[in-house]
Amino acid sequence: MKAKFLVPLVIFLALAGFLAYGLKLNPREVPSPLVGKPAPAFSVAQLQAPEASFSSADMRGQVWLLNVWASWCVSCRQEHPLLVELGRRGVVPVVGLNYKDGRADALDYLVRHGNPYTTIAVDPEGKVGFDYGVYGTPETFLIDREGVIRYKHIGPLTREHFERVLMPMITELSRAG
């Protein structure tokens, strides 16, 4: 007879369990095994100067962002204005990784939406992306002076997220050493 008064509690706890699980499902928080590890080295052609190459080693000694994008990517367009603004303000060097894209399409995209990147590496077959564990565009990696990945963001960067999470890390990393 007394057990019946426990029914509401039990129902509620089951519900809370589901809600907790629902929180975990949120796709925006995917931990990356690469964070804290050295960024995979690569050396590929540049988008605007196909004869020249870009190597990740070129960025040694700088704190930089690697932004994976493509002209076919919808979400990239959402974060693009923010990147353009970062590029203009010179907050941090942003290297673009043009992912599984056509050269003409990519250049056309930059003409239309602006070019926020200091350099753009091309990755037409997604090989570099594979090394970096890219599973969708856009993704953004924060890499420190020693070439270690410090943070990975999946999906479009929002201004709020940038100011709240990335900017403090960039400031911190630039100051250190």
Binding site: M1, K2, F5, L6, P8, L9, F12, L13, L15, A16, F18, L19, A20, Y21, G22, L23, K24, L25, N26, R28, E29, T158, R159, E160, E163, R164
Partner: protein, 658 residues
Amino acid sequence: MIAELGHFALILALVLACVQAVVPLVGAQQNRYALMAVGRPAAQAQLFFLLFAYGCLTWAFVTSDFTVRLAAVNSHTATPLIYKITGVWGNHEGSLLLWAASLSLWTVAVTIFSRDLPEAFMARVLGVLGAISAGFVSFTLFTSNPFTRLLPAAAEGRDLNPLLQDPGMIIHPPLLYMGYVGFSVAFAFAIAALLSGRLDAAWARWSRPWTTAAWVFLTAGIAVGSGWAYYELGWGGWWFWDPVENASFMPWLLGTALIHSLAVTEKRGAFRNWTVLLAISAFSMSLLGTFLVRSGVITSVHAFATDPARGLYILVLLVLVIGISLTLFAWRAPRLTGGGSFALMSRESTLLGNNVLFAVVTGAVLLGTLYPLFLDALNMGKISVGPPYFEAVFVPLMVPVVVLMVIGPFVRWKNDDSARIVRRLAPGAIVSVLLGVGLAVVVGNFTWRTVLGLALAAWVLIGSVQLLRARVAERPGAAAGAGVRLRGIPAAWWGMWLAHLGVGVFIIGVTMVGSLESELDVRMKDGQTARLAGYTFTFRGVVDAPGPNYLAARATIEVARGERQIATLTPEKRLYLAQQMPMTEASLDIGPFRDVYVSLGDELEDGSWIVSLYHKPFISWIWLGCTLMGVGGICAAADRRYRRLAERRVPAAATQSA
């Protein structure tokens, strides 16, 4: 500097909330009056600091201080002043601060209006409210600080979401929050009663006005929100069964059940367990609503930028608050059985039926809201549950509720004669069914839905008239004139009568709009006309009409009925500059028996425009019905009876608990 002052005030408020949560509860347990007395000043000081913090944040918005991140993200120098002020709660952090401030406002209201409560009981109530406040203020401070600086400052703000730049949005969130948070008072009373083991008629009497007041705010908030959706979203719908709408509707359903259950507990001492459980559940639904909106578990129109860390914090808060109260319930409730017995045909039975149905409806809505999440969690595919589900479940379950609502007030407490009730109500019921059928034929929409809706509404109205006559006739000392006898009826009774009448009016609105509305999408050029539901719409071109923070194309459309010119409507297509966001601004001619609603679509290559025309019969009756319910609630909460606490601390009808 102002922002830091606000931040500091918020920290002080948190400290005070913790004091208010702990000291009075300890005092009540040890029966030490000095400790119990700490509650009131702590609550009042907390309100002062929360309002101060709120003022500081508003100041940052009004002066366009874009070194405050929140202002930079949600305001703009060109935003009209009123939307700078309302922009404060048009975002996650600000709305939490508003949540905390409303809770504090309710707490202080309790210390003022219920000052005659026994000291120990008051101390427990304040302790519970303080604990909730501590949870929310710390949530604000630790995960969502509204005073975070943005350095270097943004040159210009990003403006408030244009959808929220609307007069309806000025009052919708504060009303809704006052409603949500208001159930915390009923909750605190219930927990205090469980703690003291004193769950009697007096407790129900103390809770009633507070529950009703919260319910009034919630009713108003939901009604205003639905009105906003009606004219701002641009296609004339007024309820979408959106997860966040459901989040506000579930506490309303349970709150309605609670109001009725409290009546039984007060008058007859029955249903005490059930009433306590409802008080806990109604507030739990408010918290769950907050969780759903804030955690990003469910995305919808209303979801602000979401964050799983915040979701986790609220979930923990949810589990603590609800988990502890339900455990307390399981521990104390077995001692609370009993109360006045009643026969199958009695007022108690009708109210019990109403309560059970409301609880079942809430469960069905909850299931529909969370089901997509369950399936996703079990990896069984992504689905959405749309309005058809909710309508299919809601209507059949609410029909018996309305029937009980008509019957209930005629039935006597404890025991009544079924034959008497049937004799009393059958004629009205038969007339109503005939009216429903007749009216459906007259309006040319003979569907079961129309017949049912109109018959039910007719019965509610007929029943209301009968009820009023019966009440006047039955009053003791009936020798006096009808006017005197009308004035002798207590406000609480009028409240019940008006609210029930409001339900009838509401049903008329819903039925007529659902059955008879019509719409037409047309392409129109200068001088062209279109016809809909007997109205002629003439397109008179489009001009530029820029606003303070947007560009707009404004069309002029003349509406005529026959030869008579009725209105000139000016729907707009706006482009809000800061966010480059297009917006449709509909234009309405509102009338008592119909709205004519026009919204502007896209421009085509040949210079013509797509225009959507809507005819919405009786739609204002929906909000008229809600207004009547709200006014009824105000009457009921304001009844003199509740203000004579001191004189009747232990009413005769009380059945003392074990």
